[in-house]
């Protein structure tokens, strides 16, 4: 049973997502969907006193790619500063996912990152500009 795209890891994460759930209270929380696909992801983020990510949880539904991506992303950003989060590149997330994605699926893969950035930019900090968007 081999698939180019659906490596064991993706399926594992789809079945047993990492950091799945809610954080209450949290410092910011953001949800967005990809209406064209019906994928939806919500992130709750808690910061420590240095504005580093102390904890993060996500909920959502959608295809295996969007869901596995949320697991991988949340795992990766723990301990990062808000600035590091804002600088987190699309390429880095796609590398984490590690399978070749077609254009149509890149959107699925990047949904969680979009949600994360929108949330992070929502946290006011001095001299902040509007972030890169999709």
């Amino acid at each position: 049973m081999s698939s180019d795209l659906y490596r064991e890891q993706i399926i594992d994460l789809y079945e047993n997502p990492l950091n799945f759930g809610e954080l209450d209270p949290c410092d910011f929380s953001y949800e967005e969907d990809n209406p064209l696909c019906g994928d939806v992801v919500r992130l709750d983020v808690r910061l420590d006193s240095n504005r580093r990510i102390a904890d993060v949880r996500w909920r959502g539904e959608g295809c295996a790619i969007s869901q596995a991506s949320a697991s991988l992303l949340t795992e990766e950003i723990k301990g990062m500063t808000l600035e590091e989060v804002k600088a987190f590149s699309k390429e880095r997330l796609l590398e984490l996912i590690g399978v070749p994605l077609s254009m149509a699926r890149v959107k699925c893969a990047l949904l969680s990152l979009k949600v994360l950035k929108a949330g992070a930019y929502g946290i006011p900090s001095p001299g902040e500009m509007r972030g890169e968007d999709d």
């Binding site: 049973m1 795209l5 209406p35 019906g38 539904e61």
Partner: protein, 408 residues
């Protein structure tokens, strides 16, 4: 006699492999059909031999192009049995056809408090133009519900069609359920209530014999690319009295009789609605597509699709976890949409694609339908006269593989 292998030989793309050793299994014809070589070559020939702008050109090429362009219109008119070919207006696609009606007829006939009746299973093409119109004019949209099995709830119709209803616009065949709607019943009901009837035949003209005079509809739209024709061309058929009374939609060359700095007057039908240089090659291609379909016979096309969809519904229903959307085969065209428990339609489509099997996954431009079903998306296999039983078998095998990958 209809022979699917003979038909397939007309479609160059069906010979192709998506990767070495993996033949294409194209089950996405409801999104857009493939093209027989006759259509492809006709357009090629046009550009190589007689391309020119149409109308009013006095030279040989322009004559030839105009002749072919207008000749295609006559063939399309005959195909849907329009009383006259000048009631057949070239548009880009079904979507533009509905927008033309909503802009030109709608802006002059819909006012505050008026009602527009649609159904809950419309394609966005038959929702959004009316929503924009209703918002602009202060009109109200009502929706005829569908039943659990994807048929229309006709019992609800009388209460929804009132003297306030000015237009009832509905699909002739759902692009998700595949449901063939009772056109005559709906059209007659609209007329009894004093409303006009607009038929979104995007999924229907390609698959079933259509006779606009027998239907007695007021407008009917469809797209060339779903019926063996090229992209970039579609048709709006309209009742003469309505078309004549309507103001033009787009302004420019060809749609005018006379232009002065003070104002303009309009050309005759159909050109009143065709501004600017038209999609000449695409229109010619559509004419050939219509000939191709006529050659096969729409009854034969429909029969083959019935055979395939019947087989597909049975085969799919045996796959554990599959939930089929829509009515039994007898009430539908060649469309089979479904969900597979625990696996998102995107993932299904992606895994099938690895085997060269092309299906569609998503909301198929029918979000409200999916909202009502409370599913974010569905997977859809759709068939045409070139689809084989073997291809359906491959789909079913592909689903089995998908389930194994997903360990369900």
């Amino acid at each position: 006699m209809f022979d699917v292998m003979t038909v397939r030989a007309d479609f160059p793309i069906l010979e192709r492999e998506t990767r070495p050793g993996v033949p294409l299994v194209y089950l996405d014809s409801a999104a857009s059909s493939q093209k027989p070589y006759q259509v492809i070559e006709a357009m090629d020939d046009y550009y190589r031999r007689y391309h020119s702008n149409v109308h009013r050109g006095i030279h040989e090429l322009s004559e030839a192009a105009t002749f072919a362009y207008e000749g295609a219109r006559v063939r399309v008119a005959r195909f849907i049995n329009a009383p006259e070919s000048d009631q057949v207006i070239y548009v880009r696609n079904a979507t533009e056809g509905i927008n033309l009606v909503a802009y030109s007829w709608g802006r002059s006939n819909i006012g505050a408090g008026d009602e527009i009746l649609l159904t809950e299973m419309e394609h966005h093409a038959n929702l959004v133009p009316w929503q924009i119109l209703a918002e602009e004019k202060g009109a109200t949209i009502r929706y005829l519900p569908f039943n659990e099995n994807g048929t229309l709830d006709l019992a609800a119709l009388p209460a929804l069609l009132t003297e306030r209803t000015k237009v009832f616009s509905f699909t002739a065949m759902s692009n998700v359920f595949g449901t063939v709607t009772p056109l005559r019943t709906l059209i007659d009901a609209a007329h009894s209530a004093g409303a006009i009837a607009v038929v979104d035949a995007a999924q229907c003209v390609a698959h079933l014999p259509v006779d606009v005079q027998e239907l007695n509809c007021d407008f009917l739209v469809f797209s060339g690319h779903k019926m063996c024709g090229p992209t970039g061309i579609g048709i709006l058929y309209g009742r003469r009295s309505l078309l004549e009374a309507m103001p033009p939609f787009l302004g420019g060359g060809d749609m005018i009789r006379r232009v002065t700095l003070e104002g303009s007057s309009w050309n005759d039908l159909p050109w009143k609605f065709e501004a600017g240089t038209p999609s000449i090659a695409d229109a010619i291609g559509l004419g050939v597509a219509v000939d191709y379909l006529t050659g096969l016979g729409m009854e034969a096309v429909h029969e083959h699709e019935q055979f395939i969809v019947n087989y597909a519904l049975e085969a799919l229903s045996e796959v554990e976890g599959v939930r089929l959307l829509g009515p039994p085969a007898t009430q539908r065209g060649g469309v089979a949409a479904f969900t597979l428990s625990g696996i998102h339609p995107h993932d299904i489509a992606q895994i099938l694609d690895e085997e060269g099997i092309a299906i569609r996954a998503g909301h198929h431009c029918a979000m409200p339908l999916h909202q009502k079903l409370q599913i974010p998306a569905s997977a859809r296999a759709s068939f045409y006269m070139y689809t084989t039983i073997e291809e359906v078998d491959k789909l079913v095998e592909g689903l089995a593989r998908t389930k194994r990958i997903f360990r369900t």
